[in-house]
């Protein structure tokens, strides 16, 4: 059988900008900082880049604080000479742009694709606090939001909370179990100099924090930041020439087989990750037990539980007991989880934090938070009806 296309593609470079709260730098400025770092990390020059991709693109979803700059702005700022370019807002969640870039490289449309994800949601929200996709709920709405906003369900927190509540109801999952995602993230963030929240967090802090949307409390919601992450994906042929060890893309999972809707999904105790993960395992001989480190999307803590079950690290409904006490997901546990601190503590870099940390771990560059002998990593992005997942190897 012909090899999956993704085996012909590697991550050749990674870069990060300054990451923090209210940096008040422009999205383009941050993007260029991360991009030049990634290109240099790959041992390339700007002239080598012939492909460009981002998620979601400047027309993707709302303000530039949420979308980052579009590809035309980045192309122009770097004077890139491109054979291929895209911005993908509808696709297998945030990593849609990565999968598209891999397809382009495997198909020969480009040889070195620069991918970036930039957010300035910390500065962008100003002093008025966080707003959801539907604004503040006072404006007339159309499209799918018309079924959400009239009921004060403007925020993804409201949508995810009802999945969590249903999971609690069906399987007896508890807040103490859910808390382990946030507590483990914070412990790992203390070892990550780029993380924005590094002070210790206790179970008491968690349990007594203010509710946002039951059963989700403040620490179940990720932290808006300003920052940019960039990657270069290249044809596997260049692997021997790289200054750093190549990280291989073993498999992608992009399937979506349920109704593409938060509220019309069949059972509310699974998400689209179920389909993307099942798809991933059909494209590789590796199994869940082969994974050394897991970077699972945690825009809200409960989404991580959904990915644990989807990827087969535990059975349906068993993510609560799996997380109990946090031992299994600790840095020295059977499945070190969200080793950068995740979006809950390192910052909301929207699916790309997970990929970045997977590469850092597989390169052995994670310093104090390095998982010894990490050879296989999974990076999952998305929640609800959106899901995309990558399996990476050394």
């Amino acid at each position: 059988m012909e090899q999956p296309f993704e085996r012909r593609v590697i991550v050749s470079g990674i870069g990060e900008s300054q990451i923090g709260r209210r940096l008040h730098r422009t999205p383009l400025d941050l993007t260029l900082e991360a991009s030049l770092a990634a290109i240099s990390d790959a041992g390339l020059t700007v002239a080598d880049i012939d492909g460009l991709a981002t998620y979601p693109g400047s027309l993707g979803m709302g303000s530039e604080a949420a979308t980052g700059p579009g590809t035309p702005a980045v192309q122009d700022a770097l004077r890139l000479n491109l054979s291929w370019h895209t911005a993908t807002s509808e696709g297998p969640a945030q990593v849609a742009a990565v999968v598209s870039a891999c397809l382009a490289v495997a198909a020969g449309l480009a040889r070195h694709v620069l991918i970036y994800r930039t957010v300035t949601e910390s500065s962008g929200q100003g002093d008025g606090g966080r707003k959801g996709l539907g604004g503040d709920g006072s404006a007339q709405v159309e499209g799918w939001l018309q079924y959400l906003v009239p009921f004060g369900a403007h925020s993804a927190a409201n949508w995810v909370a009802q999945y969590a509540q249903r999971h609690f109801h069906e399987f007896g999952t508890t807040r103490e179990q859910l808390a382990q995602v946030a507590l483990t993230g914070r412990r790992n963030a203390a070892l990550n100099p780029s993380a924005v929240y590094r002070t210790p967090l206790t179970i008491d802090d968690y349990i007594t924090s203010r509710m946002i949307s039951t059963p989700l409390c403040l620490y179940d919601c990720d932290v808006p930041v300003d920052g940019s992450l960039a990657f270069v994906v290249s044809h596997v042929d260049v692997a021997p020439d790289l200054p750093k060890p190549a990280v291989r893309i073993n498999a992608v999972g992009t399937a979506q087989r349920g109704r593409p809707s938060w509220d019309q999904w069949s059972d509310l105790v699974t998400m689209a990750g179920r389909d993307a993960a099942a798809h991933l395992w059909t494209r590789t001989d590796l199994r869940p037990s082969d994974v050394d480190v897991a970077q699972l999307y945690d825009g809200f803590s409960f989404l991580t539980l959904m990915w644990l079950e989807a990827l087969g690290f535990c059975g349906r409904g068993e993510s609560g007991p799996f997380l109990e006490g946090g031992h299994r997901i600790a840095l020295d546990g059977q499945l070190p989880l969200n080793t950068s601190g995740g979006q809950l503590s390192a910052g909301r870099l929207h699916g790309y934090l997970q990929l970045h940390e997977a590469v850092v771990q597989l390169r052995g560059d994670a310093g104090a938070r390095q998982v010894a002998g990490a050879e296989v990593a999974v990076a999952a992005s998305g929640g609800g009806p959106l899901a995309g997942v990558l399996l990476l190897t050394k």
């Binding site: 007339q140 004060g152 949307s213």
Partner: protein, 139 residues
Amino acid sequence: MTDLPVVVPDVTADVLPFWDGAATDRLVIPRCRDCATFVWYPRAMCPECHSVDVAWVEVSGGGTIYSFTISHRAAGAWADHVPYVIAYVELDEGPRVLTNIVGADLDALRIGDPVTPVFHAAGATKVLRFTPASRAGGG
């Protein structure tokens, strides 16, 4: 509980029967006349059998809470109304709708609780919300 904010819906021709029904306190949703599937969200073609013979029918409005969340933080007009209940109600006929539960004891609210519809004025029409059913009332 004080009255929740309303957003006047953008009533378009394709979903006019739904809003006309709501204006007179009736829940009217599309149903396929070929395979009997209730079509939610409202669409002119049945997603199961692809028939375009879809008709608007009045349904009971009864349902049960499939899941819910108590929102403690909100923006704009909603900020003054926290905590309020957002819920998915599964209608007796099958479709699941996003809505609010009003008039409920927040500490006693449970998944599976039966609910009945209430209609709150919103411009020329009304929006569909639910309230806990009186168990003594039966059916």
